[in-house]
Symmetry: C2
């Protein structure tokens, strides 16, 4: 059996009891470690599980999945995924390959950022489609998020924005020379996201949002040091110190809001006065 | 401290290790038992936790929350919620009350149907806003879901539809006579949901969807007997036997689809031939 086991969002104790039982009994344990991370190291997981873990990087999962699935018709293989196995990053391709090979699969769900973001106090019913924000490069500024945010905003919905992480990336130079030397991991902050959003709005000029649009920055959701900071996009450009270390994500508010959301979120506002003023003028009962 | 602890979706072992530690140590343990249910009884939870649990019904949470929060500035109180505490049903009001009383709160996230539905193979990025479907009564057929599904469909997005549950409801007669006699619990099935949807489409006639629109019925997501059935709305009207016991939920597909979603979901089709034909004509690369 192939088990896809969600690890939740924060540390080694966010695994479910059911998931932990699977990990303890499985013949082999893999950790998907390129689309998200926990806030603790692999060694902490290994000590907690009492098992050694093989890290499955993108290359392994995408090009060498048969190694992960080896003999899984006869023995149990656990494939661990931060968050939920079918959350922000889906592992449908791995399951499809297992199906082809006649290997039964089972999923152990867990918290995903796509639902845990409800801890901001914004109601999940009021969210439209989720978008991703990648690190811009000189001359490469993917902006498909802009049209999708527009679709959400046009019907008054909030948008969850998931922020890029770069793990095990090579520099162009090292890649060109075929040297398997990897850069230190990078995690996008809310500040970078807000700045990139404003840059694209500046460029496209459709007024989908602006410096005074309200948003909530979220850091380490579900963890002990979970932190939310609410403010205008302009304010959030400078809020990284308040938010602290990764992982970050962000919600851009839509106009279709509930008074309870206001009451809950304003507690996190950088500046409650500004927040209330803009809320009343632009969001309340719109 | 008030702890809001997500229980996940299925049975007593879906709690996280972190959540279980909280439950074992808390001075009092409440279970929110009116907006969703686990697939196991309270007695199973109590035996597993080694704790007795107080069931918090709607009346208690909405009108008597100070009893739940009693002395929580000094002792730990665990408030257990099926799924995630800020998922389909948010408990912002309880947390706001705790804030007023100066009681610190902490959330232990878990799987919510709002992300676990990704196990259908449909990508969460392609979902718009979530809607609810309530049991229709003679002369009372709330149809706000229709406009919201239209908004999602207009931009090509999938819609997750959460289905009504009726727990601890009184009959009109018993209510009128003030008799606290409760009807047996009722859980809406995918079949009922599909029929109600078609009834409203018939009435409104805006062509938001129709009998041939593709959808996926989901039963007991995350549980051992998890089951998905894909088909047209017409087919899903008759698929309750295939799906089996509650809880059910449903996804109405949008046109903005990925080929991997097709490959994954068609495995669940009542009739693969019909599914493929409609997919190719109406959904593929639209």
């Amino acid at each position: 059996m192939l088990y896809l086991v969600g690890l939740g969002l924060s540390d080694e104790t966010d695994i479910t009891v059911k998931g932990l039982e699977v990990v303890k009994k499985a013949s082999r344990v893999y950790l998907e470690a390129y689309t998200s991370i926990l806030l603790v190291d692999q060694s902490v997981l290994e000590a907690y599980y009492g098992r050694s873990i093989m890290v499955a990087d993108r290359e392994m999962v995408e090009s060498n999945s048969d190694e992960i699935l080896r003999d899984a018709a006869n023995v149990d293989v656990a494939f661990l995924v931060v968050g939920d196995p079918f959350g922000a990053t889906t592992h449908t391709d791995l399951v499809l390959r297992a199906r082809e090979l006649g290997i039964p699969t089972r999923t152990i769900p867990n918290a995903s950022i796509m639902s845990a973001i409800g801890a901001t106090g914004l109601q999940l019913y009021n969210f439209g489609q989720t978008v991703s924000m990648v690190f811009f490069l000189e001359g490469w500024k993917p902006a498909s998020f802009y049209d999708r945010i527009k679709e959400n905003r046009d019907i008054g919905l909030h948008t969850l924005i998931l922020l890029d992480i770069k793990v095990k990336e090579q520099s162009l130079d090292n890649m060109a020379r075929g040297r398997k030397i990897y850069e230190p991991p990078r995690y996008m902050t809310v500040g970078t996201c807000a700045r990139q959003m404003l840059e694209i709005e500046e460029e496209k000029g459709q007024g989908v949002y602006g410096p005074d649009s309200l948003a909530v920055g979220a850091a380490r959701v579900g963890g002990k040091t979970e932190k939310f900071v609410a403010g205008t996009l302009k304010e959030l450009c400078e809020a990284d110190d308040l938010l602290g270390p990764p992982l970050h994500s962000m919600v851009l508010l839509g106009r279709r809001t509930h008074e309870l959301e206001h009451e809950y979120v304003r507690e996190f506002a950088v500046n409650k006065e500004t927040w209330d003023k803009i809320w009343q003028a632009e969001y309340q009962q719109k």
